[in-house]
């Protein structure tokens, strides 16, 4: 579509559509930034990973490129999110704001910038046709999609859990406990992941042991959820280690777990 806003496209996706981008390989983040009036520079940054400085309609995005290409792309997308949504404002995103991830409120500027970046790098109009038939959400599948879009495993995992066809959660643990999590729209709010990591979970071996990825395996839901009825259900877990943290995909196949008990309280 070359003119007018399509109601089903986000602002970021509309930009890609307007540029005629029809394959993941065409998503050149530097060029898109240029299209938005922002130049991308690379230099060592001591106290931040990326930043944007803007004056009027022009901006410079500086990224520390020691973090790997996929993370750099996400950071550029994130700063473009600020450029789109928070122009004229001064925002310093502290580490703890970013780590809140989906646990931060939907109006949190970091979350808004992250969502913009995810839409720019993993636009639904290209992603959804690719994952429509996905029956199982595994790290292997997430990795294939991440490669196709040159996106990070974390960003791709979040996007696939939140918008994919498989009812699931993505939980991130560091050695001191759960840092953030996100969920599929069909997973009821009562399935709230525990703060600590169960020593019987395979994720525990990934986080504290020497393996970088666990196999996908069935485990009692009480290993992950602190609820009275949790022991009667089984779920599937599969973890991978990213930057000293364990990212775990929890897949729910039991229909009873997906039934709403109370009024919906989804975010």
């Amino acid at each position: 579509m070359s003119s007018g806003q399509s109601p089903h496209l986000s602002a970021a996706e509309q930009i890609l559509r307007d540029l005629g981008i029809s394959t993941p390989e065409e998503i050149d983040i530097e060029m898109i930034a240029w299209h938005r009036g922002a130049k991308v520079k690379y230099r060592r940054l001591d106290d931040c990973e990326a930043r944007i400085v803007g004056n009027g309609d022009s901006a410079i995005i500086t990224v520390d490129n020691r973090f790997g290409p996929a993370r750099v792309r996400f950071s550029v997308g994130h700063e473009l999110g600020h450029w789109h949504h928070h122009r004229g404002r001064s925002l310093i995103c502290r580490s703890e704001d970013i780590e809140k991830g989906s646990n931060a409120g939907p109006l949190n500027p970091e979350r808004i910038a992250d969502a913009y970046s995810a839409d720019l790098l993993l636009p639904n109009y290209l992603l959804q046709p690719m994952i429509r038939g996905l029956a199982k959400l595994t790290w292997e599948e997430i990795g294939k999609v991440a490669d196709a879009f040159s996106a990070s495993l974390t960003a791709t995992g979040i996007k696939l859990v939140e918008t994919g066809p498989v009812p699931s959660l993505l939980v991130c643990h560091s050695k001191v406990g759960r840092r953030w999590f996100t969920r599929h729209r069909d997973v009821p709010w009562r399935w709230f992941p525990r703060d600590d990591m169960d020593a019987d979970s395979l994720a525990f071996e990934v986080l504290h042991g020497t393996i970088s990825r666990s196999r996908r395996a069935k485990i009692g839901a009480d290993a992950w959820f602190d609820r009275l009825d949790a022991p009667k259900f089984d779920i599937f877990e599969e973890s991978t280690k990213i930057n000293r943290e364990a990212l775990t995909v929890l897949t729910i196949e039991d229909e009873e777990m997906l039934e709403e008990e109370d009024a919906p309280r989804r975010r």
Binding site: G20, K39, E49, I52, G54, I60, H86, I92, I98
Partner: protein, 143 residues
């Protein structure tokens, strides 16, 4: 048309096509659809073909924009490679540099990912960006 007054077959076909096009343009929508039906045409198929042709033309136009954008981006990169000089403002003390930064901050859009403090290296980068964006001059004076 040839010089001896005889019409070239190609010209004759063109004139015929022009006449048909003129007929179609002057028809009302109802007359046009009725004619297609009379000819036994599949309207759904024709509509789909028309839409596909428009989408294709749109996509080609958008790809043209993508190409133009690539070219302007490459040009900017080439120009950027030429201009590289250490501005005088970077010779000032760190506290003076911070003062310039704070003085101009309200005019800027500013966001830093994982930005809890700014080292001298980071402050220098910010000042360079402000020069490039026309906020201050090379001495650090507000423009």
């Amino acid at each position: 048309m040839s010089g001896n007054g005889k019409r070239h077959p190609r010209d004759q076909i063109d004139r015929l096509a022009d006449a048909h096009a003129e007929d179609i343009i002057t028809m009302s929508d109802e007359e046009f659809l009725a004619e297609l039906k009379e000819d036994g045409q599949d309207l759904k198929r024709l509509t789909a073909q028309g839409r596909a042709a428009i989408s294709k033309a749109d996509a080609a136009h958008d790809k043209g924009k993508l190409f133009a954008l690539r070219e302007s981006y490459k040009k900017m990169l080439a120009e950027q490679a030429v201009a590289a000089r250490r501005p005088k403002v970077l010779e000032l003390s760190l506290s003076e540099k911070r003062r310039i930064l704070e003085f101009n901050a309200s005019r800027l859009t500013l966001a830093a990912r994982h930005g809890d403090n700014a080292s001298e290296n980071d402050v220098d980068g910010l000042l360079e960006d402000m020069i490039e964006l026309g906020v201050i001059n090379e001495e650090g004076r507000t423009k």
